[in-house]
Symmetry: C2
């Protein structure tokens, strides 16, 4: 059967599968069934199978999936065979600084190669690098072949900073500010919005414990 692009929802789950497969590999598990994956991740087994067919027909009927093959296919699908290079803007702030020091990037095939801010220029984050001025962004993006810019700047300046990022030629942005960024170019934007998640929790609490 010919497979189209996997839908957005499947892509999100691919990340989740990838982590679980890494976990299984670390426990030396060689083979896994869709039902086992579904149980571990609280999903439907049919959905797991349907998602995995976007990778090709990797399973063996009556047996299951080969963990390593599956993992490698997901890494390939997600474009993680080569390490993705990240630049963090707002690295002098608390959140930016925390991300710069996040130890999990290596394991996930990402690498922080640049730190930007308008303050604390020259300050070093051990094992990562030195904070550089955001005005250098065009040059540094090109030189270090940055794939993704992570925006950790206050909400009131994020649109302005985002405009500079667009001009730098970067094609993907991860935005931590709780605001919809307006873009005029073809640039991919994903948002991490913990405020919204907190408000969702607040709503759910309300249904248990209404006024």
């Amino acid at each position: 059967m010919i497979h189209n692009q996997p839908p957005q929802a499947s892509i999100k789950r691919m990340s989740v599968y990838l982590r679980h497969l890494n976990h299984l590999l670390s426990k030396n598990v060689k083979c896994v069934s869709s039902a086992e994956i579904a149980t571990a991740l609280d999903l439907n087994a049919a959905q797991v199978r349907k998602d995995l067919t976007y990778l090709g027909e990797l399973g063996t009927r009556g047996v299951g999936y080969h963990v390593k093959k599956l993992r490698d296919s997901i890494i390939k699908l997600l474009g993680l065979k080569t390490i993705r290079k990240i630049g963090i803007i707002g690295a002098a702030g608390h959140l930016g600084g925390a991300l710069a020091r996040y130890p999990g990037f290596d394991k996930h095939n990402f690498k922080v190669v640049a730190l930007f801010d308008t303050q604390n220029i020259g300050q070093e984050v051990p094992n990562v690098g030195i904070i550089e001025h955001i005005d250098q962004i065009n040059k540094i993006v090109a030189e270090r072949e940055i794939d993704i810019i992570v925006l950790c700047v206050p909400t009131n300046v994020v649109q302005e900073v985002f405009n500079k990022v667009q001009d730098s030629g970067v094609k993907a942005v991860l935005n931590f500010a709780p605001i919809k960024l307006i873009s005029n170019k073809d640039i991919h934007v994903q948002n991490v919005d913990f405020t919204s998640e907190l408000e969702t929790l607040s709503f759910k609490l309300r249904t248990i414990n209404p006024e």
Copy 2:
């Protein structure tokens, strides 16, 4: 018309509307149409109207929506009329520390009332509080009426910590670790998974720039 509970997707957008309405209020805008909201937030106007009817029939045909009334209704729907109290576990870490210092909580009707860790007990986060040992969680949750626990602990211990959190009687958890938490009680869990967002970006980059 009788309205049921708004669907999950609408709740997520309520957060987004709330922020936009706050923004409009700060610019002294009194009245807004569904089309204006839709343009600003990159949504469909019919969807905005449908979402807003979950709040009741607040609009005026031919005119639009009263910004303040709309805002108050969303705050009520999301259960944010009373401030929601937050406890942060892993407050001695980089991410937990950054969240403890996040200045946006006030504006969003959340308040950090407890900081937990197993290290750096007694250390102070200015204007927030002192880091206390996680073994105190049951007592502190009850005393300070904590609504939501934010988990900023390393992936390899998060399930273990989550088990303690469940026993503490808290009813909502925001988890920053990239793993599916297994729960045995009725507890609401939302996840913030920036690793997954990064992998989504990596996938999108791949379609521009395939191997």
